[in-house]
């Protein structure tokens, strides 16, 4: 039986990781993810898990140490935010190319500058094409669940890819709320010990991290892309098993009040919860509005998206990062590309909100829906808008 706990979400994330019995954790402090490794080191210090916690001297080394540990056959975990993710960015695509099933929590935070410690998604979006499986948690419960699911997905023989779990900095990491924490027994049953495909050991002298010449590189990239695309099947299986065991349903795109919806919001991460309240308000006034909550960012669930937007006349895609000088913000660009081949597709508006911790309230979502409905009559001049920016 899972235990109902009240806890800061970052600490609960650490508890969830501990339930997965990691062999090696390597992390470097950076706000706002820091409470995750801090609490894991507490758990190690208390002797609750047998884990080597490496206090590395940088994020670059944190992910590097995880690569070494994972290569040697250990279950490895790290966590970071913002500049930390960028500092380890050199290693991010290597971890996936080497097919090392590392799990990383990202307490999402804006990229500098100006330096800003608060939430947005510019950190993970900068690593969008790195070949990792990328999940977004909407609340504390999803954070806990995804931490555990991540190891199972990553280590599956048909996947062998690293997974990052994104939880909004402060908006999630620093909030105390109730969650159900599975029991050790349940997690042990769900998550078997890690059996690597190959490990660094003299009994079987593998070489990892080879040089790929031009005449092999296309093929190597095709294989990596294929692995990531194919991982969706495993992700869906793991989520199905999770639902059977714990009764909580996970889908690549969660739907809220989408029945009969003509217009919908599409959100990523913790803003989905607040958007639900806005949808309820508008529904009570007769607006046919629904909400799509994207949980699986990579591999991108194109099929599910096409189904989810069927019947919509308009879709407001809410981004939390800017693709400077781009055609759209990252999520909207992805969604437009995914829907381009569809004969019938909704009009898409794109609002960028909550940059660097700028607060987003229920009413903001209501206004964005209203603007999106108006956009059918009068097309907005720009393809995207930083919503609520002063002076425009």
């Amino acid at each position: 039986m899972s235990k109902r706990i009240g806890m800061e979400i970052a600490l609960a994330a650490a508890e969830a990781v501990a339930l997965c019995r990691p062999d090696v954790v390597a992390a470097y402090p950076i706000t706002p993810n820091t409470h995750i490794p801090e609490h894991l080191s507490d758990i190690v210090a208390e002797g609750r898990i047998d884990t080597d916690f490496i206090c590395v001297e940088s994020e670059h080394s944190a992910l590097s140490a995880c690569c070494g540990a994972s290569g040697a056959g250990a279950r490895a975990f790290t966590a970071t935010s913002s500049q930390g993710l960028l500092y380890m960015a050199e290693i991010v695509p290597i971890a996936s190319s080497m097919r090392l099933p590392i799990v990383m929590a990202i307490g999402n935070r804006a990229l500098s500058g100006p330096i800003n410690i608060w939430n947005d998604h510019s950190d993970i979006m900068s690593q969008r094409d790195s070949g990792w499986i990328s999940l977004f948690a909407a609340d504390g419960q999803e954070t806990v669940d995804m931490m555990i699911q991540a190891f199972k997905i990553a280590e599956h023989r048909d996947v062998m890819l690293p997974v990052n779990i994104n939880l909004d900095g402060f908006q999630l990491t620093h909030v105390v709320e109730p969650m159900l924490l599975p029991e050790q027994k349940e997690v042990d049953r769900f998550l078997p010990p890690y059996k690597p495909y190959a490990a660094l050991h003299p009994d079987n002298a593998v070489s990892m991290g080879s040089l790929g010449m031009p005449d092999i590189f296309n093929e190597a990239m095709q294989a990596k892309d294929h692995a990531l695309i194919r991982s969706k099947k495993v992700i869906l299986e793991v989520w199905k098993e999770w639902e059977q065991l714990f009764g909580r349903k996970y889908e690549p795109i969660g739907a809220y009040r989408m029945n009969g919806a003509e217009v919908a919001l599409l959100t990523l991460g913790s803003m989905g919860d607040t958007a639900e309240v806005a949808v309820d308000e508008m529904r009570s006034k007769g607006v046919k509005v629904g909400l799509l909550k994207l949980k699986l960012w990579r591999p991108f669930p194109t099929e599910e998206l096409i189904k989810a937007v069927k019947g919509l006349t308009s879709l407001a895609v809410i981004d939390r990062a800017v693709s400077f000088g781009g055609a759209n913000a990252p999520v909207a660009a992805e969604i437009k590309a995914a829907l381009y081949d569809q004969k019938e597709r909704p009009l898409i508006t794109n609002y960028i909100i909550g940059l660097g911790g700028r607060d987003v309230v229920v009413d903001d979502f209501v206004k964005m829906v209203e603007k999106t409905i108006d956009a059918r009559k009068k097309k907005p001049k720009e393809a995207y808008e930083i919503y609520g920016v002063r002076g425009s």
Partner: protein, 319 residues
């Protein structure tokens, strides 16, 4: 001390016959670094995991789908062999403790060139040494970024011409002295630090064996002649290394628990010019500049001898 003088006679008998770094690697003809790697592996034996920084040795040894390595080997990136090694070491320790792998000691050995050690990988190396991982780090120092085409590094010696500080009408090449990395690592309270050169294979292999047995961090600095970058004849790789030692440019010594010992002390140092003149990278140097180098070599050598004479081991100091 004189093991070095007559070692040649016994060389094949003292070395492991096994080739852990196999033929078919694509290092340049006459590569001192490839030789050094081959010798290091013989001394390490099979219970070893090699962690390689990006660089010549990584590029020439594991070109998919083949590998020159008969040892488990991992390469991740340029600046991080020490931190990847830290992860490997931690994993092997934990997995052994948990009974997930066989209960025997496997040594993690990180290798990198001078760029990956002195410069871009320095932070990771310092961190790993400070944390006290049970790993041996061997720097194969060929004194420039040879893999990318002979650019200046923190290890490039004074007066050398490289592609990023070339000699010219207004330049005598690199105008700064080489970073004393062995000394810096020793300052991390690492129990075993040594310098070595492939031109003294038995000495080098003995040092590797000694370092392997240390339960904790250890560091070996191996001068590795690069005929391509130094512009020496391929057959003179060994000779060039020997001259570096005989002129005092690169003295061989050990620092064991703080105690300095010379591995080889020539009765009289040869003039530095003997070493410089066989290398194209120093060809431009004026006699004055050579004298400047000679003075600095003398100074550094005296500083070292002073340490050998006056510094005590930690055990002695503890009484």
């Amino acid at each position: 001390m004189n093991t070095v003088a007559n070692f040649d006679l016994y060389a094949p008998r003292l070395a492991d016959k096994e080739e852990y770094f196999s033929a078919g690697h694509r290092a340049c003809s006459g590569c001192g670094e490839a030789l050094a790697i081959r010798l290091m592996c013989k001394a390490l034996g099979e219970d070893t995991v090699i962690v390689n920084a990006t660089g010549c040795m990584e590029v020439v040894s594991v070109v998919y789908p083949t590998t020159a390595w008969n040892l488990p080997w991992i390469h991740v990136a340029f600046p991080n062999s020490a931190s990847v090694g830290a992860g490997v070491e931690a994993a092997l320790k934990v997995l052994r403790r948990k009974g997930k792998i066989a209960d025997r000691r496997i040594k993690t050995v990180c290798i990198g060139g001078d760029g990956g050690t002195f410069d871009i990988g320095f932070q990771a190396l310092s961190g790993a040494m400070e944390r006290g991982h049970d790993l041996l780090y061997v720097c194969f120092d060929n004194e420039a970024y040879m893999n990318t085409g002979i650019q200046r590094s923190g290890a490039t010696p004074m007066g050398a011409s490289t592609t990023t500080n070339p000699a010219g009408a207004a330049s005598q090449g690199k105008n700064e002295w080489k970073k004393n990395i062995a000394e810096i690592i020793a300052s991390h309270n690492v129990p075993y630090v040594a310098t070595a050169c492939h031109s003294y294979p038995i000495d080098f292999m003995n040092k590797v064996r000694k370092a392997r047995e240390i339960e904790g961090p250890s560091y070996i600095h191996c001068l590795s002649v690069c005929p391509t970058g130094w512009r020496v004849q391929t057959e003179e790789s060994i000779k060039a290394g020997r001259l570096a030692v005989e002129t005092g440019v690169f003295p061989l010594y050990e620092i064991e628990n703080g105690k300095y010992t010379m591995s080889l002390m020539p009765e009289k140092l040869r003039p530095v010019e003997d070493y410089l003149k066989i290398q194209g990278r120093f060809r431009h140097l004026t006699p004055d500049y050579i004298q400047r180098i000679q003075k600095r070599v003398n100074l550094e050598y005296s500083k070292l001898l002073d340490k050998v004479e006056n510094l005590h081991s930690w055990d002695e100091l503890e009484g």
